[in-house]
Subunit: 760 residues, 2 copies
Amino acid sequence: MYSCQEQSNIIKVTDNVSLYEALKTANAGDNIVLANGTYKDVQIKFRNKGTMEKPITLKAETPGKVFIEGQSYLKFGGEYLVVDGLYFRNGYSPSSAVVDFKISNKDTLDEIANNSKFTNSVIEDFNKPKRDNDDLWVRFWGRNNELSNCYIAGKTNRGPTVRVSIAGVESINNYHKIVNNHFGPRPVKGGPSGETIQLGDSYTSMSPSHTLVANNLFEECNGEVEVISSKTNFNEFRNNVFYKSEGSLVTRHGNYSIIDGNYFIGDGVNENYGGIRIINTGHWVTNNYFFNLKGKSFRSPLAVMNGIPKSPLNRYNQVTDVVVAYNTYVNCSSPWQFGVGQNLAQADVLPKSEIRSARAIRTTVANNIVYNEEGLEQIVIENDKADGVLFKNNVIDNQGKPFNNYNGGLTEASLELKKISDNIWLPTGIPSSVEPYNGFDFNTITKDLFGNSRNNNNSIGAVVGVDVNNPNILDKSKYGASWFSNEVEAKEPTTFEVSNTEELIAKIKEAQDFDIIKLKSGTYNVQASLVINKKLNINSDDRETTIINYTSEENTPLFELHPKGFLWIKGVTLHGNVTNYAFASLKENMSNHFLLTVTDCKMENFNYVLKVYKESFAERITFQNSTISNCKNGLELSEETNDKGDYNTEYLTISNCNFLNVDKNVIDYYRGGYDESTIGGNLEVSNSTFKNCGAKEDNGILINHRGIINVAISNNTFIDNKVKLVALLWGAKNNTHANNEIENSGEIRVEENLKQTLMY
Amino acid sequence: MYSCQEQSNIIKVTDNVSLYEALKTANAGDNIVLANGTYKDVQIKFRNKGTMEKPITLKAETPGKVFIEGQSYLKFGGEYLVVDGLYFRNGYSPSSAVVDFKISNKDTLDEIANNSKFTNSVIEDFNKPKRDNDDLWVRFWGRNNELSNCYIAGKTNRGPTVRVSIAGVESINNYHKIVNNHFGPRPVKGGPSGETIQLGDSYTSMSPSHTLVANNLFEECNGEVEVISSKTNFNEFRNNVFYKSEGSLVTRHGNYSIIDGNYFIGDGVNENYGGIRIINTGHWVTNNYFFNLKGKSFRSPLAVMNGIPKSPLNRYNQVTDVVVAYNTYVNCSSPWQFGVGQNLAQADVLPKSEIRSARAIRTTVANNIVYNEEGLEQIVIENDKADGVLFKNNVIDNQGKPFNNYNGGLTEASLELKKISDNIWLPTGIPSSVEPYNGFDFNTITKDLFGNSRNNNNSIGAVVGVDVNNPNILDKSKYGASWFSNEVEAKEPTTFEVSNTEELIAKIKEAQDFDIIKLKSGTYNVQASLVINKKLNINSDDRETTIINYTSEENTPLFELHPKGFLWIKGVTLHGNVTNYAFASLKENMSNHFLLTVTDCKMENFNYVLKVYKESFAERITFQNSTISNCKNGLELSEETNDKGDYNTEYLTISNCNFLNVDKNVIDYYRGGYDESTIGGNLEVSNSTFKNCGAKEDNGILINHRGIINVAISNNTFIDNKVKLVALLWGAKNNTHANNEIENSGEIRVEENLKQTLMY
């Protein structure tokens, strides 16, 4: 029984057992304080009931000094529960979520949380060991729950970082809040299901959610093409900052979103930073600011998709009844694209139910400003006709370059930019003749990007007037946990000179991130794999005289790349025993990414030069100015055969290399499954020579890159390779070849439409 | 140029030309008065602009004394236009609508109407001549338009009576009002596309409409299974009365309807009167009253359908997030059905994309009352499991008969009925222990059926308390045009005795509806078809001595049934010349229905006994106690071969008849096209004898009724008919046979799943 105290208690707990007990026995208003320290394998089921006036709180003694590690999770069940100040790291959830607003599947009110909050906390690198083992880091159920002021970063395994689930009647019309968080870097996942926030799923697309996502910073949220995937109705996205995030805010399923007052900030270079991608009905895109974005097509600042006629519920509904008003686009390469995803050319290989031919209708684009420092060929890109779109009172400065004005809906003007901050430049000098178009219900757009009223002196574009203060949108102290910063101080690297094998082994262990191991000339005989589990440079001055001779038994690598193992190696000769490998990832439990850059090296007598196992992922793998000879296999990244869109590296780059006498594939790089939303990987092979390779390869292809979306093979020389094909390119995707010399080596063939397994 | 008067004018017009001119030149505030009289071929384009304070009005001099006839229509374009007091009759629209809130397809504001009104008027029997020529009688476009206080009845041709179109950006979020109308009888159409009101279509299912349908009387709106078909979002249906209407209010496409405070009144017998059929997401069904309804399955008072998993947009989405609360069901045979339309048994003949196996989820049924004078086997019928439905605090009086109580969500109680009016009986005596369940957002249900507050003394069921006045819901003076009533005074029929052919011909012409032509014994030699274009009885006392001998050339009928031709014939022998017909409809322009009842007759020596041509429709065709012999063909209703679900009669009934020596089919009755929403026709063949028939029929079937949904063949005798099959029954539909004696006549075969052309 509870004791009937009126006063709230402070209950200090110091270990898991006393914590569990305190959570169970606390009364409304009680504060449970978790003493500073590291807690392992903490599986918290916070099942209790506070009240609005007297919530029950679990707080770190000092926010940020309480570490949750190992196999841990936090589950809420009940009402008015608050958790504040925890740091999840060095572990993972043994359950399907790290923070879960439900305890069990019993669906009773005791088990589901309402009016509860996870706040001022951090979840960092809390990955399940295997990429295909999916989980969520925060999963919402119930109603009126909140994720606020948290820093969440580093998810690499399958599954959105945050999901709002509305599977039960207790979870519709939920009015959850995801506010004031800092979503730190989420690296590219190499396949789908890497969203930062997903609201619902394709089975809840018609259901009312009413989730608010506001005032969050999304920094380098690169997991996949969708940073936010809205899949329910009536969600609101307000005043968020998308900063260098390789993806878009996508209304993937569901209708009637409000996307108001958000910032989408690019760097003027990276074409992967997205904007807003629109599918379905009734969305209002207002008061948003787009800066320096170079994304195109799916990644355009405004990408309005084509739908599938009579679309199945889980595919692409037509865009209808959308309003895009009062937005400002500065220096974006392709501000507005319509008919995105139109794929009539694929009619031969796709079923009719996958052909997106239904253009947007009843859509209004009005009162927007587009400013381009360099004029574009067109302001509006029509992948399919934008004949269902009404353009009204948009002002464009295209530096005098002509463009289609859509029956006067786009008006040319000469504008000036006024700098508000590095990332915010506001166009000024809108002709007074261009008054805001008063579309239906436009009077409900009462404020501008900065929250100022539009009632008086209203004007087009995201901001009324230009006499505004810098909103400091990139001041990270405004987002996330008050006690945490993800800014790391640069450290001078240490250089370790080594001259024998023992030293090499010792210094690799001793070194810290970004340190340098410098090899003196000589031969290093290595008998067991060298483990790379940190960011390390290894180099010498002369690859001809600096030789690592690897003598271990078969099927192990000289360099074993572990999670977070980044290796830059330069100027070394690596020598195998024909059965072993030069580089490989772990066979399993690659819970985090690796990286490999090989420069000026020679690799010879290996079974595999590189073997990347299933569920391993590297953002980049690069071989340059190097020679590979007398090996059985080259670079092998072909184990993701479940055809779910996954692959093993985002960028595989080969330049200025020599491949000589490699028996099988020189490159085998695979991505399987038809999925228009997986738009990687990337293979570049250039200025390289391939001679006498591939003869023993069963599939008869020298460079095998089936399913990879972006491929460029250029300026290479292929001589005497006994293969049928040098490569088989996928014409419908971004696969290209140019200036290759092919002699006695088969051919490069382009197939427009590659047959792929349907994923849906 | 307009003159700039401040005063409003009264402009009286007396013919089409002056009317057209006045409409064009009127100023805001002007009243155009159309003089009493009949206007032919009036094609009104009311293109002008009034203001909110000063609308432009076109009014009948005396409401109801201005008749619009011939090829006429009324189109609105502009703003604040009102038309009041017209009577459309004796004609049809040469356009695609009778009243249209748009003039042309130019989609400019001049062409589309806003804030305009068609009121206090009548449209009656204004049918296009051919059933397949579709039109609408009132079509909405634009915004804030109104159809109010009109009487509209008698539509027989294809197309909903009223449609709200939201095809253009000018027509979404329209807030149209359809209020205070009397929708009079719309006869069964015999196929789909006979709705009384359709809001949107399957291509606008995701779009916001916000149409209000309130305070209307729907009387005998029998056109098809959907009286109202809601196909857009956010529509509201409030306080309507559905009286003896053979159909339902259906949320066919689109989400988030409000269905509040409506009355569904049956007669305790007719199983075709429906209630509310639910498809899709987020509907709220509250405060409705259901009385004496015998409908089941699709026609249940509450029919919650199964959806198609990942349904194509134009088919059946799953039901999710629906609330059914505070409704009262009195003496309904099957108040609640779930999983309606579940058709897993058809998996062999239908594509996967037509199989409805997705059950309703996140649906709440709470605070309802069900009262049954005779206990039902079950309160909830589960065509598929209702495991996604939460039942809470419903009270059931099932006269002590046990029922599944769904985890206590259905509470048994002993109630009494209190009579408020003939059609409204309120259950009293709810146990005080059953308090209203407070589901999410239930506090938004602030009023009851009668508009009384639920704030205090709230209780379950449609009405708070029982001390209420009779709302007189069937007082027709509350609906429709103030000057019009559809109640006709009964007239005593006149009987005309005739004794020769000339008299027969003359009296048929002279007679009025329901009069009687009495034939004396003798032979009547008729050389040309007798036209039946009214409701007529023809009979004699002795069929053996009263003979009509038809001698006309081939392929014409003795009795030619015209639109509105209802013939009851009794006790006569009809004799043909082997090449001509006994009965036939018109070959074309059957703009209205016919009816045929043949009793105690003998028909011999005809090519066809009955030939019903394409696009003809009879609600009932009956042959009883009659003999058909020595004919080439029997009853032929098989020309609706476009497979769009159409057919030629709702009820074809043969009882106590003798068929002898009919060469081909004795009956050929066809409906084609797979369409789960066409749930007719009806064939009953009983207590009849068939001898030596069908030998020359190519298809080898004696009674051919392919595609007819309801078939009962019972207690017949089949002797020496040289056919392969007596009949081929469709097992999956309502086709039955019993107690037939079959001798040397093939067999009756049942095929569970008949292959049909898909209509969608």
